[in-house]
C-alpha cells in the first residue's frame, strides 16, 4: 500500500457498508454495493479506495480493481462537483442531443470527456439512460433532466450556479 494513503469510511458510510455485509450471504456479491459507497464517499475509486474496499471484504486488491475497472460508473480519477452526462444514443440523437452537447461545451468551456480545470464540472456523453420517451435527456449527478432544449439547459446551469 502506498504510504499515507490509508483510507477509512466515515461513520455513516461504515454503517452502510456493515448493513451490506450483513445482508449478503456471499461476500463477493457485496463488491459492487461497497464500491458504490466508496465511489460516493471518496469521489473516485483510486488505488487507496480500492484497497480499502478489498480489505473490508477480505478480497485481494487486484480482484476488486479488476471488477471496478469494468464499469463506467466507477471512476479511477476524481470527477467534477457536477457531473453532466448527456445521452447521445439513438432516440436522443434523433431529437438533437448533439446540439445539446455542443451548447454545453461552448457554454461551460470544457470539451466532452473532460473535467474543467476548476473542478466544478465534468462533461461527458453517455449511452442510453433509459429515458427515450423524454429525449433528449441528461443526468446531472444522480438526477435526470428530460425533454431538453438549449433554453432548458441554460436554466438548469443557472440553477446549479454554473
Amino acid at each position: 500500500m502506498a504510504q499515507g494513503t490509508q483510507r477509512k469510511f466515515s461513520p455513516e458510510a461504515q454503517k452502510e457498508v456493515d448493513k451490506i455485509l450483513f445482508s449478503y450471504g456471499v461476500k463477493e456479491s457485496a463488491v459492487l454495493p461497497v464500491l458504490h459507497v466508496a465511489q460516493r464517499e471518496f469521489g473516485c475509486l483510486d488505488r487507496a479506495a480500492v484497497e480499502l474496499v478489498a480489505s473490508t471484504l477480505g478480497l485481494s486488491p487486484t480482484r476488486v480493481a479488476q471488477t471496478a475497472s469494468f464499469y463506467t460508473m466507477f471512476s479511477p480519477a476524481p470527477l467534477g462537483k457536477h457531473v453532466i452526462q448527456v445521452c447521445t444514443n439513438v432516440s436522443c440523437s434523433l431529437l438533437g442531443s448533439e446540439g445539446i452537447v455542443r451548447y454545453l461545451e461552448k457554454r461551460l468551456g470544457v470539451e466532452r470527456g473532460h473535467t474543467r480545470p476548476d473542478g466544478l464540472v465534468t462533461l461527458s456523453t453517455v449511452e442510453c439512460l433509459g429515458s427515450c420517451g423524454t429525449a433528449p435527456v441528461m443526468a446531472v449527478n444522480d438526477r435526470y433532466f428530460e425533454n431538453l432544449t438549449t433554453e432548458k439547459v441554460e436554466s438548469i446551469l443557472r440553477e446549479l450556479g454554473l
Partner: protein
Amino acid sequence: MAEKILLKNVGIPGSERLETYRSRGGYRALEKALRELKPSEVTDAVKKSGLRGRGGAGFPTGLKWSFVPKDVPGPRYLCCNADEGEPGTFKDRVILENDPHMLLEGIAISCFALSVVEAFIYIRGEFALGAERLERAVAEAEEAGLLGPNVLGSDFGLKVHVHRGAGSYICGEETALLESLEGKRGLPRLKPPFPASVGLYGRPTVINNVETLSCVPSIVQNGPEWFASIGTKGNTGPKLFAVSGHVERPGVYELPLGVTLRELLFEYAGGIRGGRGLKAVMPGGSSTPVITAEQADVKMDFDSLAAVGSALGSGAVIVMDDATCMVEVALGLTKFYRHESCGQCTPCREGLGWMVRLLEGIEFGRGSTADIDLLLEIASGISGKTLCPMGDAAVIPAQSTIARFRDEYESHVRTGGCPFKSAAGKVE
C-alpha cells in the same frame, strides 16, 4: 384504449407506496397463491397463460421455470433483470419507479412457485430513483409480513435484495448479470450449462425481466384463460411499448400484443412529428432489424415481427422520419455496441471497431461501394460467432439498414458525403 393491467396504478398519487397498492387490490394474488395453490399449480397457470418473456427473447416463461431441476437439494435463486439498457427501452423504469410493489408481488409468487427463498433484483446503476423506491417497497413489504420469513403467516419465506449495477450494457445479458452479481466483471458465460441448472453461485437460477414478473400477479388473480384471451394466438397478454424518436407523443403505451404498428404510431403516439413522413422503425430496440414504412401494418407481436424479418425484442419502438440518415443511425449504434463489447470474443471486440471505421468513412465521404460489401462480410463474421447474443445484436443496425436502405449508402459514396444535413450539422 384497452383495459390497463401493468400500468393501472401509474399516475395515481403515491402509486409507489404499499398502502396505495393494497387499496387497489394489491397482494391479493400472493395471498391466493399461498392459501389456495400448490407451487406446481402456479407454474402450470403461468404455462397455460402463454406468457412469453418481455426482456427481448420472448421465451415461454412457464417453460423456462420448468427447466429448474426439482430434485437438486440446496438453494436456488430468482434474479429479476432490471438492467434495462437496450437503447430505446424505458418501459421497466415506469414499473420500477411507479409500481414497485406489483413487481415485488410478482417476484414473491414466482419464488413460491419455484421454491426459491432468496431473490435479487439487478437494477441498472443509473436508475437511482427506481432503486430507492424499490428499497423502500421491500422494507414496507417486510414490515407488513409480505416479504421476509413466514410470508402472510405461511411457511414460505423470501429475502429480496435490490442490487445496483454500475453502468454496463452487457450485464443485461443473463449470464453476465450473474457474473456481475457475483462481484465480477460482466463477462457472459459459455452456455450450456444454462442458468436453470448452473446459475448464481453455481446453483439453479431463474432470470426473468421486470415486465414478465409483473404479469404474474394478474395471471394468478384472474386466471390463465383470461390472460390468454388478450393478444393473439401464441402471443398472449398485455405489452408495454416504449415509443421514442420522431413521434408527436413519445411514451410507454400498454396495449395487447398484436396491435398494429400503424395503430400504435398514429392512434396512440400521435403520428410523425411535424407532419413528416415515416421512414423506418426499429420495432423492438436497437438490436432488432429496421423495418420500413411499407410494413407499418405488421402486428406488434413476437411471431408477426419475426415473419417480416425483425423482432419484438423489448418492445422499444424507435421511430425515424424521412429526414433521418440511416448511415448515421447505423454508425451511432455500432459505436455504442463497440463501446459495450466486453472484449471477451475477438469477432465482437475487433470487428465492431472495424465496422465503425468503415461506417465513418461512408458517412463522412471517404467510403466506396466495396466498403458496403465489406461491412456485410465483417457482420457475418461476427454474427453467431460469439459467446453471447451481443455479437448478433451488434451487427444488426448496419446489416439491416444496408439490407433495406442500400441506395442511401450508395448515394453517400457517390456524392462523397451525407445527403442529409441535420439541423445540428455534422462534424467528425
